[in-house]
């Protein structure tokens, strides 16, 4: 086992994928000499050469569109979109071409692309650098959409994404890039959980928190804080947003009967809406209370000084937990408990 940051684990995963398959190429802006603005591709151009680690012109549609052509020629391009908010110029190529070519060619054309996107907020970034655009891609048939929240998952899921013959949108939670964890670099992909499966990040019995990406960390912090009050919260890390592993989610909800779904993206028609609808369809008779969503507001991402009011934090998650536990009276107590816990350095 090696101790790696989440960003370092992705770097290791990319290196391993390139080492295993000569047809794996990296493309993106500043990914070569600089190693990417987050240094996720650090050292890879030096190791694999400029023909395989390609500094591209500053044109996202161009990056994805040429990756489509490279895939047609038999390559497996892994492209980096520098920031979440820069993916929109490539939206047409992703939605109309990448997602559909397998379908429109009756399976004759495969699009084994990985589109890596440093993703979401909470890092004090400038405008357009903190977006959560996942719902657009989840809504698009033909794409797989995943988000890792631990270095181990980041390492394995990146390699699985590269190995997949389907296009994969690979969201990388920016605010976890520097979080550390143990990674088994010799992990055999055959032994790893498949890319589409969710993970129970923490077991509990009183309520379920379903989330993904950096919010997994916040949810785990909330569960830890709730523990002090004798509450046992289960946290499900979706890992895959498309397809969603409803079996794991439903099993948890059937066990606890109460569910909070949280994500940073806006609420309306978001991943949480789909989850709550599916949970309601599949677990209606098990639910003790209406599911509650804790999400970013339905606003454009705010200036960074205000982002703490947008990105759901531990307090907002626990407030929602109170609601699904129908503990209105306890909310005030909670307020104090949470503050104390925070002062105690939970985060």
């Amino acid at each position: 086992m090696s101790s790696l940051t989440l960003g370092g684990a992705i770097n290791a995963g990319l290196a391993r994928a390139m080492q295993d398959d000569d047809h794996v190429l990296l493309m993106g802006e500043d990914i070569g000499k600089l190693g990417g603005v987050f240094r996720v591709t650090d050292g890879l151009q030096q190791r694999f050469g400029a023909q395989r680690v390609i500094d591209t012109p500053l044109a996202e549609a161009g990056i994805v569109g040429t990756a489509v052509g490279l895939a047609l020629r038999g390559y497996r391009p892994v492209v980096e979109i520098q920031f979440d908010g820069f993916v929109y110029p490539a939206f047409d190529q992703i939605v109309c071409q990448v997602a559909k070519l397998h379908y429109r060619s009756n399976g004759r054309i495969r699009m084994p692309l990985v589109i890596r996107i440093p993703w979401a907020g909470g890092v004090g970034a400038a405008e357009h650098h903190s977006e959560s655009p996942e719902a657009y891609f989840v809504h698009t048939a033909g794409l797989r959409v995943v988000a890792a929240s631990t270095p181990q998952d980041a390492y394995v899921m990146l390699r699985q994404a590269v190995a997949s013959d389907d296009p994969v949108i690979f969201f990388e939670p920016k605010r976890l890039y520097h979080s550390k964890g143990e990674v088994d670099l010799d992990a055999d992909l055959a032994d790893a959980p498949p890319l589409h499966l969710a993970r129970v990040a923490r077991e509990g019995t009183d309520a379920t928190i379903v989330t993904y990406g950096a919010q997994v960390r916040t949810a785990l912090d909330a569960a830890l804080a709730a523990e002090d009050e004798g509450l046992s919260l289960e946290v499900v890390d979706l890992r895959s947003l498309s397809p969603v592993d409803l079996n794991t989610v439903a099993a948890s909800v059937r066990k606890t009967g109460r569910v909070v779904v949280t994500h940073e993206a806006a609420r309306e028609a978001g991943v949480g809406a789909e989850l709550v609808a599916s949970i309601t369809e599949q677990c209606f008779e098990y639910l003790e209370a209406p599911p509650v969503r804790v999400t970013g507001h339905d606003i454009p991402y705010p200036p960074s000084k205000l982002e703490k009011h947008h990105v759901p934090d531990l307090d907002r998650i626990l407030f929602a937990v109170d609601r699904v536990l129908e503990r209105d009276a306890g909310a005030a107590t909670r307020q104090g408990a949470v503050t104390a816990t925070r002062d105690g350095g939970v985060r």
């Binding site: 040429t66 489509v68 052509g69 071409q97 397998h102 004759r108």
Partner: protein
């Protein structure tokens, strides 16, 4: 060799097309051109007849497509009449290993690449999104998103470059596409990476109802040098000029000299598609003027004058064209619509349990009708 603008603008309003390179005048007389001539000096009578034959076949195929649409057998057709020289001429300069990325109007390119009868029509009938096997003719599925394929061609060429092969990619698009970001980004990528790709812009003067002057106030071929890409502006109704320009571009790519750009100045004689009514936006006089520059009549006049073609040769080609049309008609009318359960096929290459469930639910729903009879 790069395009240089001569004598004012030629964005469609110059009837003489003074800066357009050609070797065949509209009446079929051969004129010298120092740039183009060396590239076609070795064209054999056999190659010339094949060029003519594919152009005639393309026109017949196109007419059949229009007829099938009018008879309700096709949902839509995008006529290519008038553009046979650029489509067939450029495609005849390719090797089998080269890969073309056509727009939806490039019927002549598909024909020259050897598509099957159903390959031309089943997408327009609504049976398939792409009716031909791209591997069998090295042609990407027809592109409907304007200009998107220019990037695919460039990426494919970057792959060919990395493979150390001499294969060349060709992006086909129209004058309207030149306004798209994708097309301009493709020129940037191709130039920066010296990719072996040829951009063929069929400037047919119209993007549905918008004249080319809405897309550009400057000749399209004149843009490419600004990207560092040499270009030629040729008479797109002169098949020999199209072959010559394409051979020039292909040779540059194979030599490792990178991308080239060809603007073929031509005319869309028909509507944008069978749903369009061009009388609402263009004058009959303009169409008549372009009819006098017909690419097939021009080549035929030249080949007959040269003794390469005679009446019996023309008859043979005409019979082959009718046979193709009959095959296309049969492939179209005989096409069976797929089982609805196949709706869910190939959305993903790898297993997808949720979609499998949707399929099962829908199949079960449909089966209910079989048991109960129609409602």
């Amino acid at each position: 060799m790069t395009y240089t603008q001569t004598q004012g603008s030629s964005t469609g309003e110059d009837p003489d097309q003074r800066d357009v390179l050609r070797v065949l005048e509209p009446d079929g007389s051969r004129v010298p051109d120092a740039i183009l001539d060396p590239w076609i000096a070795d064209l054999s009578p056999h190659e010339l007849r094949a060029l003519h034959r594919d152009m005639v076949l393309t026109r017949r195929l196109d007419a059949e497509g229009v007829a099938l649409q009018r008879q309700g057998e096709l949902a839509l057709w995008a006529p290519c009449r008038g553009q046979e020289a650029v489509q067939v001429g450029t495609a005849h300069a390719l090797a089998p290993g080269d890969f073309v990325f056509p727009s939806y109007r490039e019927h002549g390119v598909l024909l020259a690449r050897g598509a099957t009868p159903e390959g031309y029509v089943l997408a327009w009938r609504g049976e398939e999104h792409s009716a031909y096997d791209h591997r069998s003719i090295n042609a990407a599925p027809p592109q409907i998103i304007i200009g998107a394929q220019s990037l695919h061609a460039t990426g494919w060429a970057m792959g060919a470059q990395r493979d150390g092969s001499r294969d060349v990619a060709v992006a086909y698009y129209g004058d309207g596409a030149t306004s798209q970001g994708d097309v301009n980004e493709a020129l940037v990528f191709a130039s920066s990476f010296r990719a072996p790709v040829v951009f063929v812009c069929s400037n047919n003067q119209w993007a549905i109802s918008e004249p080319v002057t809405v897309q550009t106030k400057y000749p399209i071929a004149g843009r490419a040098p600004g990207f560092g890409i040499p270009s030629l502006r040729v008479d797109g109704n002169d098949a020999l000029a199209c072959v010559a320009a394409m051979r020039w571009a292909i040779e540059r790519a194979r030599r490792g000299d990178g991308p080239s750009f060809i603007e073929a100045v031509t005319y869309r004689m028909g509507p944008h598609t069978t749903s369009d009514d061009p009388t609402r936006y263009r004058d009959a006089a303009e169409v008549e003027a372009w009819a006098r520059r017909d690419p097939i009549a021009r080549l035929e006049a030249y080949l007959c004058a040269e003794g390469v073609l005679d009446d019996s040769g023309l008859d043979e080609v005409s019979r082959a064209a009718d046979a193709l049309a009959a095959d296309v008609r049969a492939a179209c009318i005989g096409a069976a619509t797929r089982d609805p359960a196949t709706l869910f096929d190939h959305v993903y290459a790898e297993p997808h349990a949720a979609l499998d469930r949707q399929r099962a639910e829908y199949v079960q729903y449909l089966a209910g009708f079989d048991q109960e009879g129609p409602r």
